[in-house]
């Protein structure tokens, strides 16, 4: 039992961080960022390069991931999404663009970082073992704690900083935010960069545990979509809740349903469909039109 909860919490923390970036971008620009998973992979590879290739400390790698992804996010917003949003008749056109960017990043990652699985050495060794009731390696505890710290940091930033407030205002009412003197273009760009950065940071954090490879992008995006559907798209608390709920469901499902074979994810999906049929806007979301 303790083990299930701990696993769920650890998974939930990293999921929440992934979902946060996605939901931030969605709330600011109404863009469903298909390339989110690829950005995560990119972050992993940057940290890998800095840590394993250049031999620099892990924290430097993490910072590098953050910076590189923030720049990529900013560029995507400034030169791609902004133009397409202005020119297209239907909002959904951004989906094609996002998918194109996902393919593009996949290609770039393949060319730059290669097709192989990469990993960096463990940052801390040892395993926490409480009487066989709860087993958790220390590096996972550390990463989980870091992820939770970042989620908290992000919430505080959005809640109390000027920039955070501006972005929340932007998400709630673009026009009113403009009237408050918020430069909407600039803050959209910052928001997009921030969202991409979060994806990159998760990639950098997890490369120490799961390693990274080209194939992780797509499935990560799908999982992130799941989370924001559970919690409600475009709502920060929803993303966090969605992340932790999915983490718990996975942890519980894998333990309880192990005997039945391959059904955990089917069960999760089925639950989700039923849940959305009852509550189309997710846990905390607003109905979307």
């Amino acid at each position: 039992m303790e083990q299930i909860l701990a696993n769920g919490l650890y998974l939930g923390a990293q999921y929440a961080l992934i979902a946060l970036g996605l939901t931030l971008i969605f709330s600011l620009m109404n863009v469903l960022n298909f390339a989110h998973g690829q950005m995560y992979v990119m972050g992993g590879f940057v940290t890998y390069t800095v840590v394993a290739q250049f031999g620099l400390p892990f924290i430097v790698g993490l910072l590098a991931s953050a910076v590189v992804l923030a720049v990529i996010g900013a560029v995507c917003e400034r030169f791609l999404f902004r133009t397409v949003i202005k020119r297209s008749k239907r909002e959904e056109s951004t989906m094609l663009l996002a998918a194109g960017i996902a393919f593009f990043l996949d290609a770039v990652i393949l060319l730059v970082f290669g097709e192989k699985q990469r990993g960096v050495p463990k940052i801390v060794d040892g395993v926490f073992n409480w009487d066989m009731r709860l087993i958790m390696p220390y590096d996972r505890i550390l990463i989980g704690a870091l992820a939770i710290a970042m989620v908290v940091g992000f919430i505080l930033f959005m809640q109390y900083s000027r920039t955070g407030r501006a972005m929340r205002a932007l998400a709630q009412d673009r026009m009113a935010a403009q009237l408050m003197g918020v430069d909407v273009d600039r803050y959209s760009m910052i928001g997009f960069a921030l969202g991409a950065m979060l994806a990159g940071i998760v990639g950098g954090l997890l490369v120490t545990i799961t390693g990274i490879n080209l194939g992780m992008g797509g499935p990560t995006s799908v999982k992130a979509f799941l989370m924001i559907m559970i919690g409600g798209a475009g709502v920060i608390s929803g993303a966090i809740a969605g992340g932790f709920i999915l983490g718990m469901m996975e942890s519980i499902g894998l333990t309880l349903l192990a005997a039945y074979g391959d059904v955990t994810y089917l069960a999760i999906f089925a639950t989700l469909l039923v849940f959305l049929a009852i509550r189309p806007q997710g846990l905390m979301g607003k109905p979307w039109g």
């Binding site: 696993n7 290669g114 192989k116 699985q117 799961t210 194939g215 999982k223 894998l254 391959d262 994810y265």
Partner: protein, 369 residues
């Protein structure tokens, strides 16, 4: 000027599964460049330069068919690939209609058993390596109970099923065989917990991808598992080292078809040339270099096969040539009679490795018939 002999490759070289096809394509290109540098290959009275025509099927069976059509269009009769079960099955009609021999890296027996006759398995299948490994471990390590985990995808699942079958046939007790995971799992602890609790002596990671292997090993060890861990697929030593470090020590896997003890000078040169061309070597290419070699050598043995695969098939039964990549007097021959009832498999040595401190050491070498 030499004539050109085109050899095809249809497989996945982009997207998530790029690793599988890329090692294929690169080992073919390395070998072709090398042969051309030596003045080409003489088949019959003609000397040919080898040209590799590669098609990226994006791991999509529908695209794989298009790739095979493209090969047919180019007048190509010998194709390496595809890399996965569904692609290999999907191209079968095209290959048969257009007279193409193809060398899939996929295990379904129907591909190689009559009435199918155009596919040649390019490596050792898990249902061949599995029993060999289990038997070895039963004899040397006293293994009695075995557990299987596999990713929830076609290839690994069918490999698990045949592994379970083989283990039962050997009289092993299978204590867990229903646990699966999504390939994108980031934490294997919940996945492995019930498996470890079933207390096996041997944990088999069926069809595990290089990406998942280190994590699975790590999780199992961190959960306190002390038994043996093995897989029937090839792995990358560096990936294991980066991903699991010393926790991966003792991990048993099927190696590329060449270990230091077996590798000839030609294999060493191949590795050098590959590294020079593409920056980084991939151990799997030890196996994947063979397909091209088999094609060329068989054509040399029967030049009439150059545009007639029926001739090729005839030659296969009796074909034998020197194996340049192995020391000693190893031979290139076609095998597979016991698995498929006909010779539809290249003979590469089955090398079983054990991971120790960042490198593979040969545990034993066997042959498939």
């Amino acid at each position: 000027e030499n004539a050109t002999l085109k050899i095809g490759f249809v497989g996945v070289t982009s997207g998530p599964a790029a690793a599988w096809g890329i090692s294929n394509q690169r080992s073919m290109e390395t070998r072709a460049a090398w042969l051309n540098e030596l003045g080409g290959v003489q088949i019959g009275d003609t000397t040919y330069n080898i040209e590799i025509v590669a098609f990226d099927d994006q791991k999509d069976p529908k695209r794989a068919i298009a790739g095979m059509e493209k090969m047919a269009q180019d007048g190509i009769h010998y194709v390496v690939g595809p890399n996965v079960d569904d692609g290999a099955a999907a191209v079968r009609p095209v290959a048969e209609q257009n007279g193409i021999m193809y060398f899939p890296y996929a295990f379904p027996k129907e591909l190689y058993t009559a009435p199918a006759s155009n596919a040649i398995l390019g490596m050792v299948a898990n249902y061949q390596s599995g029993p060999a490994i289990y038997k070895h471990l039963m004899e040397t390590k006293g293994v009695k109970k075995v557990a299987f985990v596999a990713a929830n995808e076609s290839d690994p699942l069918s490999q698990r099923d045949s592994g379970v079958e083989a283990a039962k046939a050997l009289g092993l007790e299978v204590v867990s065989d229903s646990v699966t995971y999504q390939v994108d799992t980031t934490d294997f602890t919940p996945v492995l917990l019930p498996v470890i609790q079933s207390a096996p002596d041997l944990l088999v990671l069926s069809g595990v991808s290089p990406a998942n292997a280190p994590q699975l090993i790590r999780s199992a060890r961190e959960l306190g598992y002390t038994g043996l861990i093995s897989t029937e697929t090839a792995q990358d030593a560096q990936v294991l080292q980066e991903g699991a470090g010393e926790l991966a020590n003792g991990f048993i896997s099927v190696g590329g078809a060449s270990t230091p003890e077996l590798a000839s000078d030609a294999m060493k040169e191949f590795v050098e040339r590959y590294t020079a061309m593409f920056g980084e070597y991939n151990d799997e290419s030890n196996t994947k270099v063979y397909a091209l070699e088999y094609i060329i050598e068989t054509l040399k043995a029967n030049p009439a096969a150059i545009d007639n695969v029926e001739e090729f098939k005839k030659t296969m039964d009796t074909f034998e040539a020197a194996n340049p990549f192995m020391v000693g007097d190893a031979k290139l021959t076609y095998v597979g009679t016991s698995s498929f009832g006909q010779k539809r498999q290249v003979s590469v040595p089955l090398v079983v490795n054990e991971f120790q401190n960042g490198a593979f050491q040969t545990l034993f070498v066997a042959k498939v018939d």
